[in-house]
């Protein structure tokens, strides 16, 4: 968890650190509300969710008869927390061969996230194998293979330009024959508005579901933390196409705040599973709601 704290500290210092400064003392004024709204929007929380949060805080302040800005911080933490589910079930991996499908737009960080996830699951004692399902982008197969070597996990490769469905088919066969218990499938990046590519992804999913009972057991959408409000659109489209079961928030080590996951969690009820916090294979942690909010609001 150190990684996530470090990166959130940067986040806090960049923008949310101001929350304490702004809400630090004195009475609540019209400006406090405006500043609060501004801070949330600048964290990519989005207009809709920011206004909603501010409205809820106003209500709470009225009801509880509060007038100190210091109270706002506590309320804000509570209201943001309420946008996430109370509890999230663990990853659905309790299968003879658990299949995890990784999807996302181009450049969101799929391949790197797969390697990190593979290492994490391997450390938990799982027998992990990867399928290089991005046969489209130049050298994507090599990229995954190099990562596979780094984290010590085998990679099933197809031909560049080949049918990703065939790779997935082979990978399932190989996983079963080698007695693996976890298959993570890399897919080519695709913008959620590309009709044909979204259809292709449905086919990949279909191949898995025909070969592995109840598979794929997890379908994780990798989102770039620098993404703004389009993140919600991505989540909606991928959810509709391949029934996404969770989110991986990559590249949270920058100055980006990843605030759009608030809307995704609240509106689509998708669990945020992991956060990626750097380029090293260890820079990966399960999403921790409290740590995330604490970081957002600049509390130690």
């Amino acid at each position: 968890m150190k990684g996530i704290f470090d990166s959130l500290r940067k986040t806090r210092n960049a923008v949310f650190g101001q929350i304490i400064g702004i809400l630090g003392g004195g009475e609540i004024t019209a400006e406090s509300w405006e500043e609060l709204e501004a801070l949330l929007i600048q964290g990519d929380v989005g207009v809709h969710t920011a206004l909603l949060l501010v409205e809820r805080l106003r209500e709470a302040v009225r009801e509880e008869g509060l007038y100190q800005t210091a109270d706002l911080q506590r309320l804000l933490r509570k209201e943001i927390g309420a946008l996430f589910p109370e509890q999230t079930d663990p990853l659905n991996l309790d299968w003879p061969l658990a299949v995890i499908l990784i999807v996302g737009v181009n450049g969101s960080g799929k391949t790197t996230s797969i390697a990190k996830l593979a290492l994490r699951l391997k450390k938990q004692g799982r027998k992990v194998i990867l399928a290089a399902g991005d046969t489209f982008r130049a050298a994507a197969i090599e990229q995954l293979s190099i990562w596979g070597e780094r984290v010590g996990v085998p990679v099933v490769q197809g031909e560049p330009g080949g049918d990703p469905g065939a790779v997935v088919y082979d990978a399932i066969q190989i996983a079963k024959s080698r007695g693996m218990d976890t298959l993570i499938i890399d897919t080519a990046g695709r913008l959620h508005t590309q009709h044909n590519l979204m259809e292709e992804m449905k086919k990949i999913r279909h191949i898995v579901s025909k070969r592995v009972a109840w598979g794929p057991h997890e379908t994780l959408l990798v989102l770039d933390a620098t993404t703004g409000q389009n993140g919600l659109s991505q989540a909606k489209h991928f959810l509709a196409a391949v029934d996404v079961s969770g989110i991986v928030l990559a590249k949270l080590d920058g100055s980006a705040k990843g605030g759009m996951v608030l809307s995704i969690s609240a509106q689509l009820e998708l669990p945020i599973r992991f956060v990626g916090t750097g380029e090293r294979k260890e820079d990966f942690a399960p999403f921790d709601k409290d740590a995330f909010i604490q970081g957002l609001l600049g509390e130690e």
């Binding site: 940067k10 207009v47 181009n106 050298a139 508005t193 009709h195 920058g254 705040k257």
Partner: protein
């Protein structure tokens, strides 16, 4: 996706009632809508503040005649201001002595390597001889990726392999190689990095100093949120940018990052990455981008999508047939298939301006529509070629056979035939009048 700004303003003005001029309080409410619309489009908060204050200056006290729709008038002001802020499209400045060095920089995953290849291809088409330099020694297989692209496009790549690779040295050697390889433009593909990573940013400075590029272009994802400002500022202050390239613009992001980046750096937007194909690199059009940011319907994209999906020769051929009044069910089927190739009905309708408003409260059952289209297709496919070419031969027994063959009802066939007749009549009327070119073919739904 979003309600467009013009629709929102329309609502505001409807509530306001009718005034002769824009009063201070009207403007206030209008500005709020503008502010929210821009924020929804991911324009940076601070940039929005400055922007709305400029719009306020222009809008207050402006006469609003009843004849002109005040909402449209304000939208026009906002649109013009946006176009101005976005600035004129930039061009590559290949001046001085060759080889001209272009350096591409940006965050991880913004699309640098793909853009390097697209730029190289475009430059070659313009008569240049580009050389691509693989200076991303960090991301696994990044060098290989550029080598593969180079082979695919038949454009030379300078790369080094080994353990201790030094990106600035690779870039210098790449530029030195240009002359011996007969290249007049060298494009440097640098590794993705965070603007807050001082060590990595230092590397870019070194590359810049040692290769003296004529262009340092920031490649940025069009889907970038509020961070656009710190990313652009970070790169501009540390490396010195000469232009911006926005990628993945073919998605549905509003692209507010364009405004943010342009206004904090002041450097022009030079290109847009519009797809995965290596020729998908376009010049920047401020008017289009402004319309997109305001959510004013993306007609231009719709037209482009149509052009992409429609076989132009086929369309021209069909147009000729239409002019002659020869339009049979074969043509009907062909057009149906072309339209379906463009995407789902819902997506298409979303691109039409005002459609959201017109369809308010009406839900389009996409699955149902798709099903309907499939049935129509099945009916036509169950006809003999003769019947398709000359539907007037379709008597009762033929219709029954077709219904059985396509798994539909005779009623549905009757419906299709009557629709077809209406179309044909419409086409005749159109032919009497003036018919536009190419894409003005009547649509069936």
């Amino acid at each position: 996706m979003f309600e467009s700004l013009s629709e929102k303003l329309q609502n505001v003005f409807e509530q306001l009632g009718k005034h002769g001029v824009l009063r201070e309080e009207d403007v206030k409410q209008v500005l709020r809508e503008i502010r929210l619309a821009l924020l929804e489009a991911d324009v940076n908060y601070k940039v929005v503040k400055e922007f709305t204050s400029r719009v306020r200056e222009q809008a207050v006290g402006k006469e609003v005649t009843q004849a002109l729709n005040p909402a449209q008038q304000v939208v026009k002001i906002v649109h013009q201001e946006l176009v101005e802020t976005l600035g004129a499209p930039g061009r590559l400045s290949l001046t001085g002595t060759a080889p001209y060095v272009l350096m591409l920089v940006g965050l991880q995953g913004s699309g640098k390597t793909t853009t390097v290849a697209k730029l190289a291809l475009q430059l070659r088409k313009q008569g240049h001889f580009p050389l691509m330099v693989a200076a991303d020694t960090y991301r696994p297989a990044a060098i290989k990726q550029l080598e593969v692209l180079g082979r695919q496009l038949d454009i030379p790549v300078y790369s080094e392999h080994g353990r201790e690779l030094d990106p600035p040295a690779i870039c210098v050697r790449g530029v030195e190689q240009a002359n011996s390889r007969g290249a007049d433009v060298v494009i440097l593909d640098t590794a993705g990095r965070l603007q807050i990573d001082t060590q990595m940013m230092q590397e870019l400075e070194t590359i810049r100093e040692r290769t003296q590029p004529v262009e340092v272009l920031l490649v940025a994802d069009a889907m970038t949120g509020q961070e656009a400002v710190s990313i652009a500022t970070g790169f501009h202050e540390q490396v010195g940018l000469t232009g911006l390239i926005l990628t993945k613009i073919d998605g549905d992001a509003r692209g507010g990052a364009a405004i943010s980046m342009r206004s904090v750096t002041g450097v022009p937007i030079k290109f847009l990455g519009t797809g995965e194909k290596t020729n998908a690199l376009e010049l920047f059009h401020p008017e289009r981008m402004a319309s997109r940011i305001l959510g004013m319907g993306d007609v231009l994209s719709l037209i482009e999508l149509a052009e992409e999906s429609f076989d132009l020769e086929e369309t021209a051929r069909m147009e000729k047939r239409l002019r002659k009044g020869k339009f049979d069910l074969e043509d009907f089927l062909k057009q149906l298939r072309q339209v379906r190739k463009m995407g789902s009905i819902g997506e298409l309708l979303n691109m039409v301006p005002g459609m959201k408003r017109a369809l308010r409260g009406v839900s389009i059952d996409e699955a149902q529509t798709e099903k309907q289209l499939k049935r129509v297709e099945a009916i036509i496919l169950s006809m003999t070629p003769e019947e398709r070419r000359n539907p007037s031969v379709l008597n009762g027994s033929r219709r029954l056979r077709i219904a059985q063959g396509s798994g539909t009802e005779v009623q549905e066939i009757n419906q299709l035939i009557s629709q077809y007749r209406q179309m044909k009549k419409m086409v005749k009327n159109l032919n009497k009048g003036k018919m536009g070119r190419g894409l003005s073919l009547p649509k069936f739904f």
